[in-house]
């Protein structure tokens, strides 16, 4: 195999030394099957051990290695150096505070995840001895896609609204909220809909749709947001015609 090289420009930020992020350029030998992640690993192993970034599974399922690759949010493990002839620029995910180098602070998303109550709140209690709930493939299909979110946060880095106002629940959390609301086993959608209609809810979204474009798992969070806009508007009007606490 012929030795080819690529210049990987990495935005560095070490809070103990640096006032602000700055670009550092590395020349890295690569083969056609090498991912951006493998390029960064090469840098860390042989060129500069102080470079910090998150990674683990290498197969686009753990969600650790989200970063900006030439300005677009990507998973480094399934983005390939061969697609960036000559040079590629890597920086931390946009719209999040940078902890160090390519590591961003996740506190905001973790807090939002907790807030949407991402767990089954059963319609009625069911003992284990009663076995499973029946759920047809069609019922499963209603939420399966939204349950595939790996929390990689590429959608947050893509969302212009989240960039302006981080109070917005954002695409990932709304997709997961929708996942539980659509689950035939769950009985708490009214509870979660309060978040959807609230100030930080779906109406922040300006329907750019970039979140779905960058999603590496085809979760289509923009679709979840849109479905909830309709639902939330419906709920708003129903409030006037139905007594409080009544079921749909």
């Amino acid at each position: 195999m012929t030795e080819q090289t690529i210049v990987i420009e990495v935005m560095r930020y070490r809070p103990e030394q640096d006032q602000e992020p700055w670009p550092q350029r590395f020349t890295v030998p690569y083969s056609d099957d090498m991912s951006v992640l493998q390029g960064l690993q090469y840098i860390k192993d042989y060129l500069d051990e102080s470079l910090s970034f998150r990674w683990s599974c290498r197969m686009a399922i753990c969600g650790s290695c989200g970063m900006m690759v030439d300005g677009i949010p990507k998973l480094a493990c399934k983005t390939f150096l061969r697609d960036y002839p000559g040079q590629v620029r890597i920086e931390a995910l946009h719209h999040f505070p940078i902890e160090r180098d390519l590591v961003v602070v996740l506190d905001d998303f973790m807090e939002k995840l907790e807030r949407i109550q991402p767990y089954i709140i059963p319609k009625e209690p069911r003992a284990l001895s009663e076995g499973e709930h029946l759920q047809t493939p069609a019922q499963l299909d209603l939420y399966a896609q939204f349950s595939s979110c790996i929390n990689c946060l590429l959608c947050y880095a893509a969302c212009p609204q989240y960039g302006l106002n981080s109070d917005f629940l954002g695409p990932g959390a709304i997709a997961l909220l929708h996942r539980y609301n659509q689950d035939s086993r769950d009985g708490a959608s009214q509870l979660r809909m309060q978040l959807i209609g609230a100030e930080e809810g779906v109406f922040n979204c300006t329907a750019v749709g970039y979140c779905s474009e960058v999603c590496p798992k085809q979760v289509d969070p923009a679709n979840a947001v849109n479905l909830n806009k309709t639902q939330s508007a419906k709920d708003y009007f129903l409030r006037f015609v139905k007594p409080k606490g009544s079921c749909q």
């Binding site: 099957d33 102080s50 998150r54 683990s56 499973e132 709930h133 029946l134 493939p137 019922q139 499963l140």
Partner: protein, 593 residues
């Protein structure tokens, strides 16, 4: 030093750690549970499990069948009483996962579907497409968020166990974001840190799978049991080692050599039939399939290409629609990483290191011999996998024994109140000082990546699919050398915030200890059993001398001491382990003892 006082502390927030935390939180809401993890819980390596999780489900299946498959699959090195408990608990735990929202794949009538898996007589593998581990992990993590008594320490790196008066009393953890140490005092500690396959070169594991909990328990005198048994998964991506689930074969995929021949029929797994048949051919156990690959390679019947020797995993006859429904992630991996459309072309595969059957020695209630220490999941050796794990038993194990470990740790902590953190602080400070000395050492010359690469290469050379004395001995010697050189490690990065260089160094220390336990346990086992196969005169199983668990005990500045312990046999006497037509014949023979 920050001190946090908990009732129990759980190290690792993958499947086993989360299940333990939920069990304890449900049983006693007043309990203070500290759940620490070096990554955010949803990054834990449970996430990468694909094919499914075992549990008897169908009317024509039985606990005895699951028991027999597991014990013979483990080449009789299983704790049979523990396996009996395990198989009985699996279905309830899988239903529990369903109640918590796990999106199990369903049949048309809404009931949960199961699929075939290697070495299993009846289909009993519950699955969520081919992202079962991902869905189980996220279900467990998201479910855990409703319990306020679970206090998470995300991105805290466990750096030591604190042991006083012969009892575990807490852990020392580094907050990765600040580089500061925290002492977490607790009445009991649950290790749930996963496996150690990253000590090998070509492996399926995530970067975080570095044997941390195993090494910490080991260093504090707890034996590591059956460490020579390391599983090669037969169908992995060449070079990267990424996994193509066994479910590919459960759904009907074929393994083909360069002559277009389903070669497994030459290795006691045949006859070859068009339809998948349980415990035949591609549905044989992993150890046998990986060994068959090795033989094919020796015979020159593998494909040779830029990525090394491979065979073909042929899924074409299953059709794009079924592949998209049942194996979407496999489809995606083949397309994105190899440029292969599995509906049109076969996928090149080869074996890669996947799983550590052995681990921290614990009894059937997850208790280690060191009082106050419990372990569950891949880091533990509770005794269900023996010499070879069957696919889909490990996800079930996380649930069954995660729960046990959580409840047992809780019970232990009730009778052993946590000691005051202040009393432990001296020990914690001493431990921290050692870690900082390694970090700040100025005159080191050894480079981390070099040591790590040499470790992984020597493990592959000495402790691969087939083993012999000389190469294992060379590996043992090499590891001893690497441990010496490790003392002279240079850590370039001296900073505090997110210093991954420092953490990688601590991990490398863990890995070298675990690798040594593996290599010496392998060297000492003079027989072939399950995943431990020798070519140097010990090709047969030797029940006379080695129907025993190996126990590797740590010795500072010396190779581990290897001793042996009894295997619990209840109702299945060791017999011929056979698959395919030979397996059917063996089953029909009258039982003898």
């Amino acid at each position: 030093m920050e001190i946090y006082q908990a009732d129990i502390v759980i190290v690792g927030a993958g499947g086993a750690g989360l299940r333990a935390a939920i069990a304890a939180a449900q049983a006693d809401p007043n309990l203070k549970i500290a759940l620490i993890s070096k990554v955010y819980p949803m990054r834990s390596h449970t996430v990468a499990a694909e094919g499914g999780s075992a549990g008897v489900r169908q009317a024509h299946d039985s606990f005895d069948y699951h028991f027999n498959d597991t014990v013979s699959g483990g080449d009789w090195l299983c704790e049979q009483d523990v396996v009996e408990y395990f198989v009985k608990q699996c279905p309830e735990e899988m239903v529990q996962m369903e109640h918590w929202g796990c999106p199990w794949s369903r049949k048309a009538d809404g009931q949960i579907n199961v699929r075939a898996f290697g070495g299993m007589k009846i289909e009993r593998t519950w699955f969520a497409a081919d992202k079962t581990g991902f869905h189980m992990l996220h279900t467990l993590f998201q479910t855990s968020l409703q319990f306020p008594s679970i206090k998470r320490f995300d991105e805290y790196f466990c750096a030591d166990l604190l042991v006083e008066d012969g009892r575990v009393e807490g852990v020392l953890a580094i907050e990765i974001a600040s580089g500061e140490c925290t002492l977490i005092a607790a009445g009991a500690v649950v290790m749930a840190t996963g496996g150690a396959a990253r000590v090998f070169r070509e492996n399926t594991n995530g970067g975080i799978v570095t044997g941390d909990g195993m090494a910490l328990a080991f260093r504090h005198g707890v034996p590591l049991r059956d460490m020579e048994f390391v599983q090669y998964h037969p169908t992995c991506m060449p070079r990267t080692g990424l996994l193509f689930t066994e479910a590919c074969r459960g759904e009907g995929g074929f393994l083909i050599n360069k002559d277009g021949y389903r070669y497994l029929q030459d290795y006691g797994l045949g006859p070859a039939e068009d339809q998948p048949r349980n415990k035949f051919m591609e549905l044989g156990p992993r150890d046998r399939l990986s060994q068959a690959f090795w033989h094919e390679q020796q015979k020159g019947r593998t494909f040779e290409g830029p990525l090394g020797s491979v065979v073909h995993l042929d899924l074409r006859h299953l059709g794009a629609a079924l592949l998209r429904e049942r194996l979407p992630q496999i489809y995606e991996l083949a397309e994105d990483f190899l440029g292969v459309d599995p509906a049109k072309e076969p996928i090149p595969v080869r074996p890669a290191v996947h799983y550590t059957m052995g681990g921290i020695e614990v009894d059937g209630r997850c208790a280690a011999p060191l009082p106050g220490l419990f372990a569950a999941g891949e880091c533990s050796s509770v005794g269900i996998h023996g010499a070879n794990r069957l696919g889909s038993n490990s996800l079930a194990e996380l649930c069954v024994f995660g729960k046990v470990a959580g409840l047992e740790a809780m019970a232990f902590a009730r009778n052993h109140a946590p000691v005051e953190g202040a009393r432990l602080e001296k020990q914690a400070l001493a431990s921290e000082q050692k870690l900082r000395a390694m970090l700040l050492k100025e005159d080191g010359t050894e480079r981390m990546a070099v040591l790590r690469t040499e470790m992984a290469e020597t493990m592959e050379q000495g402790c691969g699919i087939f083993r012999q004395h000389d190469s294992m001995l060379a590996t043992c010697d090499k590891l001893a050398e690497l441990k010496q050189r490790f003392k002279n490690l240079r850590i370039e990065d001296k900073s505090s915030v997110w210093n991954s260089d420092w953490l990688l160094a601590i991990e490398l220390g863990y890995q070298l200890d675990v690798a040594e336990a593996m290599a010496h346990s392998a060297l000492n086992r003079k027989e072939s059993r399950g995943a431990h196969q020798r070519l140097d005169g010990f090709e047969q199983r030797d029940d006379q001398n080695y129907l025993q668990h190996s126990l590797a005990s740590y010795q500072a500045d010396a190779a581990p001491n290897i001793s042996y312990g009894a295997v619990k046999i209840t109702k299945s006497q060791p017999a011929v382990r056979a698959y395919g037509a030979a397996g059917v014949a063996a089953e029909q023979e009258p039982a003898h003892d």
